[in-house]
Symmetry: D2
């Protein structure tokens, strides 16, 4: 039952991960293969729970992984480091999928890191050092197609799980397909890597998911292209921890007409994400999408701040303290606090698998463009103003009911 | 603009509070009169927020208060003690409503405390010491009607906000209207006070709300009676603090298919509620309705415990610590903790006002029997299995949309 | 370098553990052997830090373990369960000491469980089922001596790390050596197991440490015996988690003249200790020694409660939430909260090793009777009124300075 | 019994507060006068608790207050704002001392704000706008002397409780008395206000306390001057909240040989201190003294960060969340978290009164120079390396025992 070759199923889905050797990618691959090999359960996967589980979704054991990265250390070493630092995956699971990881690692190609910031690209080799923008795009696309052809895939889904880029200045200059394609042809060196991966995917007809706060498909030009070509795509910035809690809790304050005076959020984490976000440039985008959730649900909030700090000893354990100061009846001031201690990658990985299945489902059913039914997965769901987690889930359940 | 006599409005609603000198009643009355006098805002009231605010609801400044209690200390003294111990209401607010409180206090009658447990009734005088059950019911009913007649009220709503009674054993013996009425006639001394108040209200055609965990209208016999007579009623146990948070948070764990291994809830509070709940007999009902919320939303939860302890120095400040141990992808164990510090009465009071308005609205529109659109207000909503706060609110909003 | 036979050192210390297959014993043995084999550090050991480290203490790699238990499951299985449930010890450490554990397990004898409560003894076999009290004592003593003789030990230290017994009623009846010995001879079946172990040790001249809240050496009769025979002994109830924090924090409130209104402590844990303490009988002693710390440091405290609950999923992770409500200048009420998440056995084990070394040191230097310099290790230090952790440590440091 | 004129005592102590209309000064004055008038207790005062209470200390009701400020809003208004925003002082207390506040306010002179940063000085008038440095010093000194002469004071103590200044660059240039006095004569405009106040006090023979993180007396030149003239002085940065807790807790980790991997401290507060500290320039000094405590007690700490953020709604309530990640035996990683919710001024004010009494005591007994027995009051005690709160208190107690 080696992944990609003699899978138990014929329904093979190519999963191309941008940032294929990062924490989230590694955990996603380990998890998918552990499920395929029957050594773990599917806890944490939304697509394994009703009503979504009733959809006809691509099977996990048919996932064939590949991807881009500029990090040379192989997947097995990445997984071992995660085991040593975080205790996840455990020895047994790692042993069961070790050969799979080695096989998948052979399919990871060097990618681009243009405009990813020094915190990401320093010390690595990457495509854009030697190629023009258009050539980078062609190379990426070629990598996608070669993979697809070699593995007899039903479909190919591209997911960006790479480190957060610095925020793109003036993204409105790429608001039309024309403007974007002209920029690529003109070798516009301000286009960030995530946009190139997204463009290559959508232009080639592959569903695309942006799991990160980077720009990627959140450009007018790419929305136009996807709408025109009928390619499903979605993003931005997966909602895994503190923001997920916020999107469940804030509606409670709103629903009870309690006035939030201050909501302070302090996140500490020790993985590469944390290190990259220490760089203020890279943090800006992340903080924006985290902050928007509260502003949307609690329009009258008086003070809303989010901090992310790098605490090396925590490794992949993202810990958040939130302090909520609110006012109720008769001007009574009250408080709620919470702390959240989650393994960031273990929270993210099942959502990667869910999103691959759900965007593939949309593609299979001819639903192109943005996919609002996937809003619950994202901090800044493209094309969706609703940030209330419960309301977002309702959309997903309605979609499931429609297609079941 | 003295309450009850020369109110700014002609639309007068009688609000009969069982336990009219308790914390919740006092704060509700103070708040309503402070709103009427323009010295406080309506923060915390669900009926003052869209879409519910669009309904034609009885005006707050038309509320005329009265009620039963076995506690002799007058309302003004109650309010002063709350100010001194909790800081709510503040001096200014209290000064503005002091005369109103004194006027209302004159309308509070001695009630029954039958089967309320020693923690509640010790040292007080009450009706059932000298009257047969049927006579107690008649006296209560007579109190309702006298009040109604003297104040030219459009309607009278009865709300039970008295201290929690011990759980009623074998409530199924009162499962039919006949059985219940026979028990009253047979001077069945096991019927608790809350049932007598509820019976007297519903039988006389007054909408009834049970804000507490006591039995009251949660008897088959009373449901039958209310359905037959078309009287709206609802309950049980208002959802104000820790359980409210649970009902907003637990759906997040469910929605993401995260497995909750243990959910420990520890509540400490220092008001009379806390003192009464120190008595294990009285605590049983409360703990049951608190625990059910999680069991309903998270059917696979492995361990779910709620503790309530009396901590005198906290006065009306109810503080809860919840510890949630959950498992995600790849059997990763994670944790969330929260602490909630709320002024119990300040959280409860606006909901009392909301419920009066909403059940009066149902009555005005001929909706009798249980009112499932009010489920979001209760820990154990009668006739409703849904405990997800967001879903419960959806029902209220749908009701508002239907009637707007 | 197999433990007990060809140790690197000639200075061999016999460590007889009562409850030798329990969590604390297992972790102590695993840790000591891992230190001896060079696969772990000595973090958590007070005797490895200055100024105590300057004392001439028995070497850890010279510890030879043995003990009593009524639990038949062998040490290796105990250690494996701890690894699986708590992640401690890790695979590597366990592999390094597995053979040592097996060898030690052969030296564990069946003990007594008289008056340990049903929660402890149910389903096991034990000495007191078939022997008179005096015979049980003789058998225990015989076990000590046989072990000592077979392993060429410099000294033998007995440490009680067994599950907590129910509190002994009227302990003053054993307040003299005579009374105690008469009770043993008269087959007094109310004497609990811990007393018999302590008596057998002290009477035979072996230093004794009571790591638990059980009675053991906390009897006037045993103090008299130990004083007369010059045997060092100490106890009661090792201070490992929440109480340790209290004994460090409470002096801060005292030192700043802040008035503690309420101190609520809520402990949840999932190991056998937790299960035994679910039994109210067994919990009483534990709660008493936990509560005393605050009452001693903060004599004016108004409310002080400790709860211990069993939360199976936490395994050996003892989590505590403490809520401290205090009053400062101008009657300002303020709050501090803390949560503590510690692996109970990993906190306890190094202290077992410390205590063995330090009581052996006292014995080597002719210091008999109670050992007040060890007060910092205990929740209820015998013969010491000081509960301030910092002051207790000063006593230890003064002892170290005196002997260095 | 009006303060300063017909006090119950003849032993009158002048208390000159730099920043006399700030939060801490206001609360100190309110508290002292409330004590004098018998309407509050002395909770929070170290000098009212044994063994310090046994010293012959200047009576609180003999304190005569005056001071400098650049803030024009009078003391009564300051106190009212604190009551409204924080609930401290309460109405009753404020009423009792209102006249005293008005009388004291008349004795507050305009001061200097040189190099206090824009966050402090913007929009106010102050001495250094129109005077040379030497003239500013003379003016300050003249203010001290005029006050002393007019009120028949036994002694005058100067305490700096003004907002935190930006850190002084290259303080070593003022390391000798000569260098410092030369700079004053040369109109060196880089000398910050706090230094001028301290110089004027010490040069005139008045005991000086620096309650803030500003430079003040922490200059070699001033230490030389104070030692030469025998004037007692002490500082720096009163230890009132999170850092106090750290200095009580960190020794526990050290004492048990537990390795702290990360200690994250996040402070939020809403008073002027918070606003000033939003300015990164002003925050630097504060953060340095907060951070040093841990580095000193836990020399092997791997990661130690402190954040201070401005959260307007919290007013004077300083809330801190600390997350402590530590390693114990067998490399077990564990966690402790705490939150601290204190009214900053209510914690600080009693210490101001304590320090006035204790430094006056030193002066009365001829102890000049730095006063290490006062280390427990400060985050960065001048001339003292000991940061363990308990050890620091021991020094105070030893001083008390020596003088009792």
């Amino acid at each position: 039952m080696t992944e990609g070759t003699d899978s138990a199923t014929d329904d093979r889905t190519g999963v191309w991960l941008v940032g294929a050797r990062g924490n989230v990618a590694t955990m996603s691959i380990v998890g998918a293969r552990a499920i395929a090999r029957g050594v773990t359960e599917t806890t944490g996967m939304v697509t394994e729970r009703e009503p979504v589980a009733s959809l006809e979704l691509p099977p996990i054991d048919g996932f064939v992984f590949a991807g881009h990265d500029i990090e040379p250390e192989p997947l097995v070493a990445q997984a071992e480091r995660q085991r040593d630092r975080n205790g996840v995956p455990d020895d047994e699971t790692l042993a069961a999928v070790r050969d799979d990881l080695a096989a998948i690692d052979d399919r990871i190609e060097v990618g681009t890191a243009v405009n990813c910031g020094a915190a990401v690209s320093e010390g690595s080799e990457y495509l854009d050092e030697r190629l023009a923008v258009r050539d980078v795009v062609e190379q990426i696309r070629d990598d996608y197609e070669t993979f697809r052809d070699h593995h007899d895939l039903e479909r190919l889904v591209v997911v960006n799980v790479a480190s957060t880029e610095p925020e793109l200045a003036a993204p409105e200059r790429y608001d039309s397909r024309d403007a974007l394609e002209r920029a690529i042809d003109d070798d516009d060196r301000e286009l960030p890597a995530s946009v190139l991966y997204a463009y290559a995917a959508i232009d080639a007809g592959h569903p695309f998911v942006n799991f990160t706060p980077s720009t990627a498909n959140a450009l007018g030009g790419l929305e136009e292209l996807a709408a025109a070509t009928g390619v499903p795509h979605m993003g931005r910035d997966a909602k895994t921890g503190e923001t997920l809690v916020k999107s469940a809790l804030a509606p409670m304050f709103a629903g009870r007409n309690l006035r939030v005076l201050s909501w302070e959020g302090h996140n500490i984490l020790g993985n590469k994400d944390g290190l990259v976000l220490e760089d203020e440039e890279n943090a800006a985008g992340k903080l924006a999408s985290k902050g928007d959730v509260l502003d949307s649900i609690l329009p009258d909030i008086e003070h809303n701040r989010v901090r992310i700090d790098y605490t090396p000893s925590l490794a992949d354990w993202k810990t958040a303290w939130d302090y909520i100061h609110f006012e109720g009846f008769l001007e009574t001031e009250m408080k709620m606090q919470f702390t959240w201690e989650g393994s960031d990658s273990a929270l993210a990985a099942p959502l990667v698998l869910d999103l691959v299945r759900l965007i593939a489902h949309a593609d299979d059913h001819g639903d192109g463009g943005l996919q609002p039914q996937l809003a619950s997965f994202f901090k800044a769901p493209l094309g969706v103003d609703e940030h209330d987690f419960s309301q977002q889930l309702e959309r997903l359940y309605a979609y499931a009911d429609r297609h079941a």
